[in-house]
Amino acid sequence: MADQKTMTEASDPTASVAADLADERLIRTQGAAGYARLFVNRLKSGELGSLPVVVGLVVISLAFYSAEPKFLSSYSIVSITQFAAPIGVIALGIVLVLLLGEIDLSVGSVSGFASAVMAVLLVNKGQSIVVAILAALAVGLAIGAVYAVLYTKLGVPSFVFSLAGLLGFQGALLFVLGTQGTINIPSQSGLLQFARRSFVPDTVSYILVVAIVALYAATQVWGVRRRTAAELSSPPLALTAVKALLMLVGLLALTYYVNIDRGWSYLWVFFVVLVVLMDLALRRTTWGRHVFAVGGNEEAARRSGIKVDRVYFSVFALTSTLAALGGVLAVGLQTSVSQASGTTDTNLTAIAAAVIGGTSLFGGRGSAYSAMLGILVLQAIQSGLNLINVDSSVRFMVTGAVLLLAVAIDSVSRRARASSGRG
């Protein structure tokens, strides 16, 4: 990797110090060793990011692989990602409420109820799939809107109204299904085709990977250009090049491996796109900034002129809508809606996924990617235990232990951040 100094000289002929590096107290980052040190320092001060969950995922994978080599087969990876997606979508909504320091315990019930509404409209009422799905999403949106009003106007704690929702919408699911009990979705339905049987063709997948990495590299280079133009420091281009190269090699290898079997499922790709969009919205838009601000210090946000109630409204509405969407996708994958849809452990899996992925329970800290990483961990545990024929009792215990570990890591890193002044 090129030395930082030569990079600065190359991009800035006057070689003057960038505005943001002028303070003499700042520790300069130079060369590969400098960036490595920066990384270690950040870890030490509790800025763990997604490292614990990535390490966890690797450990879990190796453990199951040593017990049953089929765990890391192409088929298994395709299945894990495909089946992770629906609850992953729900977990994405949970990330949002957690960022505000709130909770939504009813996402499972909402997903079940919304999918039942969809199934009834589609199968019993003969509506088109588009109308049925839109109706399900509208149900989610309406529920979230009611939650927001309860929270902002009446001051009901989110724990309480979502607990009420957990029970209430489970009842609504039974009511909508009526005496039928189970509604099967016709197998030629577009939803089923999409969720169960659509996989990205080999060529398309490689083109996509290259396009994604190219887009990533382009935005990075553009960012560096803009910062240099504004006389601000920026990471060396060599670092970007190395990152992009690693990304390209990693994604191509992974894609090649899953293409041995059926290839990436469109369901998983859909989920990943949703995660990336949510990440952009959270980090790069005013709305996302305000979500973090309200989660960090609500009073400060209010005094800054942020419409705090609107932020709560948007987040509760999005969470319930994503729950409904997750429910619809789950039905597509499972081919039917039953009285058990969204009831058993959907709630806690979704919440656990967000927390395991690294979103803090204390608000103001987390990322959209934590939903993805967290649900991969939980789905990997489930598939692995199924593969080695372990009873579901053990699965619950293992999941509980992993959740406890994740929250413990969150609490410990929070304390490390406090003592090293990183908030």
């Binding site: 943001d20 303070d23 700042l26 989660g295 009073e299």
Partner: protein, 274 residues
């Protein structure tokens, strides 16, 4: 964003004027017939004992409370302030005592919170960071990096960020509520320097403080509130600490103080000005 720093208003014009402001909370008369003028390029210190009505007055000006009676004239227009964001839009910035910063966000994000610069649908981080450095340099502020979370800054640095934030959006009046309350000696001096720099740029500054030394160091005029009323007003060069304390505590109102202030020969003048 901060045109006020580039083209200061002519010094001496009255920017903010309160007349006959009255505010009641139930049976408590928090403010009665309070008047206050603030000119551009002037630091007005608002002092008074606990319960004198300083905070109520600040909240009236910043739009948190609506006064029961009285009028507020701002930049020659009579106004009603409907809320904190409305006050900000008018050009009245408030730096609250408890800072109101988000610990989990970095300096740039805090400076522009609620007033983010955008390009298209996205936040323009580069423009915001550049403007942050310009703002902080205008105040000669010492912040090592604007990309570190607020939590890692010292008390004085946080106060600096809070004051710098009040300048985003080119205000005409900046109100500082106890800006040096929790600060050390050197940090207090830094904040006092900041206040002087605000004055130099032509802003009207209202400084609320309990600390007489701070007030006498930077203020041009000192307005004393007592029991919700204007008790006295001093030019800073005329005021001695003893006189200030007397006005704040009301010690000059009682018989003994009145006799003492008259001295051996009776005068017609009262114990204090205003």
């Amino acid at each position: 964003m901060t045109e006020a720093l580039v083209a200061p208003a002519p010094v001496g014009d009255i920017v903010l004027s309160l007349t006959g402001v009255t505010k009641r909370f139930g049976a408590v008369q928090a403010l009665s017939d309070v008047h206050l003028d603030v000119r551009a390029g002037e630091v007005v210190a608002l002092v008074g004992d606990n319960g004198a009505g300083k905070s109520t007055l600040v909240k009236v000006i910043s739009g948190v409370y609506t006064p029961d009676e009285g009028s507020i004239t701002f930049a020659g227009r009579q106004i009603t302030v409907g809320g904190p964001s409305e006050a900000q839009a008018l050009g009245i910035a408030t730096v609250f005592q408890d800072l109101a910063l988000c610990d989990n966000l970095d300096v740039v994000a805090n400076l522009f919170l609620g007033q983010e610069k955008t390009s298209g649908p996205f936040i323009d981080e580069v423009a915001m960071e550049k403007e942050s450095w310009r703002l902080l340099r205008t105040l000669s502020a010492k912040i090592p990096s604007v990309r570190i979370p607020i939590a890692s800054l010292s008390g004085g640095q946080r106060q600096t960020v809070a004051i710098a934030r009040s300048l985003v959006g080119s205000p005409k009046i900046v109100m500082l509520d106890e800006p040096t309350a929790a600060l050390g000696v050197a940090q207090t001096a830094e904040v006092l320097n900041l206040i002087e720099r605000l004055r130099e740029t032509g802003l009207g500054v209202i400084l609320i403080s309990h600390n007489m030394a701070d007030v006498q160091a930077v203020a041009d005029r000192i307005v004393v509130l007592r029991l919700g009323k204007n008790a006295a007003e001093f030019k800073v060069e005329d005021a001695t600490t003893a006189e200030l304390v007397a006005a704040i505590t009301g010690a000059s109102d009682n018989v003994v103080a009145a006799r003492a202030s008259r001295g051996p020969t009776p005068t017609t003048d009262g114990g204090h000005h205003g």
